[in-house]
């Protein structure tokens, strides 16, 4: 031990405090939180230890700790915390900090987690979409004339056997490039996270399996658990969140399937939209997804307001940002359908379309830079949880 000096990192502490973890310093390590937590395992309880690590600003240690992601912010700890140190809310801020650690272009994380960054983000999204619009529509279309934007029938592109209208090429260029960017970043981050966990838990080389084995043996059960929300449902104080959150997740999955189907049908099979809003089955699939999304997100927003009154949950800017962004995605999505169908509103379709694209753009980009990253990182941590428990069992036998 001699000569080993522990250095705190004040900048990390300030960062945690600025994204919703302002109460972290109140903790006096009584461990009430770890006892009441319905999700913490006996052999590695949280969040008491993570509170201490956060007070010292130990970025590396927090990065290499899956507990940060196993926490679902039930708020039981916050409710019983004798110092109002709000461990549940602090852990949410740690997730934002860890997300920032794991990804390049950190300024984007700053923009996503501060109100002042919002106009910049909107400008980025707008500029990126406009760039491709000007290019594909060969100049500035009239956004107040739906036959000019988005339903311009005059400009088409022939790519191989496919004949695509301008808006489809624009959307493909914008979102395929964005999706590729996000996927590369996240894949990289997940790899980094996984290796950190392996090193932190000193998993012997013999038990470090390839991606295929991990996916088949541990990712599938993790996915089942996530779809089922079985951990989430164990929460005490804020168990109300499990159902709307589940609906929201299902909404996203259905919308993902819808989008994929549209992509294949339209781009490759030439069945171009807009489709009949009342009879087309894919439209109906989209509506169901949209309704689940709206139901889920509205449930989460109203539930959070109630929980704030009970003092079991605090809603930080990062929380509100994501919820309201999802709400806007849902509302603008339905707005397009309505505007397009109602003749007097028809020419507003272009504006709704543009706003919808901006919100969806921000939602995509928020995966690596906002609390939305939990979609990927919590899944990673839950998978690791299954994996590590299995490794322990195998090492023991």
């Amino acid at each position: 031990m001699a000569g080993h000096r522990i250095e705190g990192d004040l900048s990390a502490v300030k960062e945690i405090q600025s994204v919703g973890g302002d109460t972290v310093k109140k903790c006096y390590q009584c461990a009430t939180c770890s006892s009441v937590c319905p999700l913490a395992p006996d052999e590695a309880p949280f969040p008491r230890k993570q509170m201490l690590l956060a007070q010292w600003g130990f970025r590396e240690k927090l990065l290499s700790d899956p507990s940060v992601w196993l926490c679902h912010q039930c708020g039981d700890c916050t409710k019983y915390c004798p110092r109002n140190a709000r461990p549940g809310d602090v852990l949410a801020s740690l997730r934002i900090m860890v997300t920032k650690e794991l990804l390049p272009f950190k300024f984007l994380n700053t923009f996503f987690n501060n109100l002042w960054g919002l106009p910049i983000l909107i400008l980025i999204a707008f500029a990126y979409i406009m760039l491709f619009t000007l290019f594909t529509f060969k100049g500035t279309p009239n956004f107040f004339d739906a036959t000019s934007f988005p339903y311009n029938d005059e400009i088409h592109y022939k790519i191989g056997f496919m004949k695509l209208p301008a808006r489809v090429v624009m959307i493909d260029l914008v979102f395929l490039s964005l999706a590729a960017f996000v996927i590369v970043l996240m894949a990289n981050a997940v790899g980094k996270l996984w290796r950190t966990y392996l090193d932190y838990y000193k998993v012997p080389q013999a038990y470090r399996y390839g991606v295929g084995t991990i996916l088949a043996n541990y990712f599938i059960p993790a996915l089942k658990e996530i779809l089922d929300h079985s951990r989430f449902e164990k929460c005490g104080a804020n168990s109300w969140r499990a159902t709307p959150h589940k609906m929201l997740l299902f909404g996203f999955i259905i919308l993902f399937i819808t989008t994929g189907t549209v992509f294949i049908l339209a781009d490759f099979l030439g069945m171009h939209t807009p489709w009949n809003p009342f009879t087309h089955p894919v439209k109906w699939l989209g509506y169901i997804g949209g309704i689940l999304l709206l139901y889920g997100v509205i449930g989460l927003i109203t539930g959070r307001n109630r929980a704030e009154l009970e003092n079991s949950l605090k809603t930080s800017y990062s929380d509100s940002f994501l919820l309201w962004l999802i709400l806007l995605v849902g509302i603008t999505g339905f707005a397009i359908v309505v505007f397009r169908t109602v003749p007097v509103l028809y020419n507003l379709t272009g504006v709704a379309y543009l706003v919808h694209l901006i919100t969806v753009f921000l939602l995509f980009l928020s995966v690596p830079y906002s609390k939305f990253s939990h979609l990927v990182f919590r899944t990673t941590a839950v998978t690791f949880d299954y994996y590590y428990k299995d490794v322990l069992k195998k090492m023991g036998s």
């Binding site: 006096y28 009584c30 006892s35 009441v36 395992p41 006996d42 052999e43 590695a44």
Partner: protein, 413 residues
């Protein structure tokens, strides 16, 4: 104009000390107590700090001094309603509740024998019962019975009156409101245990074998409801594994935001009670920090050496009952090993925090802080646990110090 007498409110150890120290300075002192007897919390204990004396030890010598002093007037069953005036000339309105027993009473106990109606004993924290006519404490001062009319069984009143050959029972006594003029006031109303049922995760009131530290004191007392045996309320068995839950209510913004000062020492003391009577009983103390102010650290060493104590650094936040055995499953994180443990115990003792008796009361002329403790103003001097959580020794230091302050107030006015 100035009045040179002193009012002492509260007849526990601090109030008794202030009253007698002042009266021995030949100042007129009024001592008022809301209960039917003096003695306060110390009177309920088995042993008290610092030297682990039984309460008879400290109280009796003071009672003797009080009996001999002509400057002291004592009112029991009396509360302060209102204070007006200024340092040197306070007017205090008081209310005395009827005792229904006059000073003819000799404590012969004949009435108690024939009385059938019973009441739950507050003095024993609900662990025992008394008759409707009862002696408020084994060492009651004044040594007089008291009658709780609401607990009388039909026909009781006639029976107890006919058996009392001293004509001490007076069912027609009325509540009296009166006024005193004094120069200074020493406020010594002490403390009460925090309401443990408010701590919903610790199971008090739901699980029989979760008890409080003050209930342990009553059980350990030879004159207590169990005759000195510390037993499980569920089946009367002596526990072999006992958990102490420190900071039950204290240092908790949801309950009492402050440290109650004495609970760590009380649990160590209780471990010694077990060591003295049941050497096989194992005690586990779950704590955040063991706080033994000043020289009390020596007491920690003593308890560690003499009693069977296991310390676990981690606050208990979950208690469940095994319905078949009425044992308790106690969950805490052992923060030194970083693991969460759930252990089985026969009994759980909550190291319950203290709350000032003034909490929630509004007495015009008396100012309280946000936690209900009395704030010192020019001529109103809080002492003991009405001022802040303290042990007996330090309470007495505040009590003697307050006498000097009160005398200064009187002299200056």
């Amino acid at each position: 104009m100035a009045n040179s007498s002193i009012l002492v409110v509260g007849g526990g150890i601090s109030g008794i000390t202030s009253a007698i120290e002042a009266a021995e300075m030949e100042v007129d002192v009024y001592l008022v107590e809301s209960e039917p007897t003096l003695g306060g919390r110390v009177g309920q204990l088995r042993y008290y700090f610092p030297k682990l004396c039984p309460p008879t030890c400290g109280l009796e010598i003071n009672y003797k001094r009080m009996k001999a002093n002509p400057h002291l007037t004592i009112y029991t069953m009396t509360e302060v309603l209102e204070i007006s005036g200024a340092p040197g000339s306070y007017k205090v309105k008081l209310k005395q509740n009827p005792r229904f027993v006059n000073d003819n009473c000799t404590c012969c106990g004949e009435c108690e024998k024939v009385c059938e109606g019973e009441r739950i004993s507050r003095f024993d924290f609900g662990l025992g019962k008394t008759k409707a006519i009862y002696l408020p404490s084994p060492m009651a001062f004044p040594a007089r019975y008291v009658l709780d009319k609401s607990a009388l069984a039909p026909g009781d009143l006639e029976k107890i009156m006919s058996v009392c050959q001293y004509h001490a029972i007076d069912p027609d006594m009325k509540e009296e409101v009166f006024e005193l003029e004094v120069g200074a006031i020493i406020w010594a109303t002490g403390w009460q245990p925090y309401d443990a049922t408010k701590i919903d995760n610790l199971g008090y009131g739901k699980f029989n074998n979760v008890i409080t530290n003050m209930q342990v004191e009553r059980m350990a007392s030879p004159w207590g409801p169990t005759g000195g045996e510390i037993k499980r309320p569920s089946d009367g068995e002596v526990p072999t594994k006992v958990a102490f839950v420190q900071c039950a209510g204290s240092r908790d913004e949801n309950h009492l935001p402050y440290c109650s000062y004495i609970c760590c020492l009380a649990s160590l003391k209780h471990s010694l009670y077990f060591a003295e009577k049941y050497p096989n009983t194992e005690c586990t103390i779950f704590y955040i920090d063991i706080r033994t102010p000043g020289r009390y650290e020596k007491f920690l060493n003593r308890a560690t050496n003499e009693a069977k104590i296991k310390f676990v650094k981690g606050k208990v936040a979950k208690i469940e009952e095994d319905p078949s055995t009425k044992d308790l499953l106690v969950t805490a994180e052992d923060t030194l090993s970083g693991r969460r443990v759930t252990e089985r115990f026969n009994m759980v003792i909550l190291a319950l925090g203290m709350q000032p008796s003034t909490i929630g009361k509004t007495i015009p002329g008396l100012s309280l802080d946000e936690n209900g403790f009395v704030v010192e103003t020019d001529g109103i001097i809080p002492v003991g646990c009405a001022k802040k959580p303290l042990d007996v020794m330090t309470s007495n230091e505040t009590a003697t110090g307050a006498v000097l302050k009160a005398l200064q107030v009187i002299k200056r006015a």
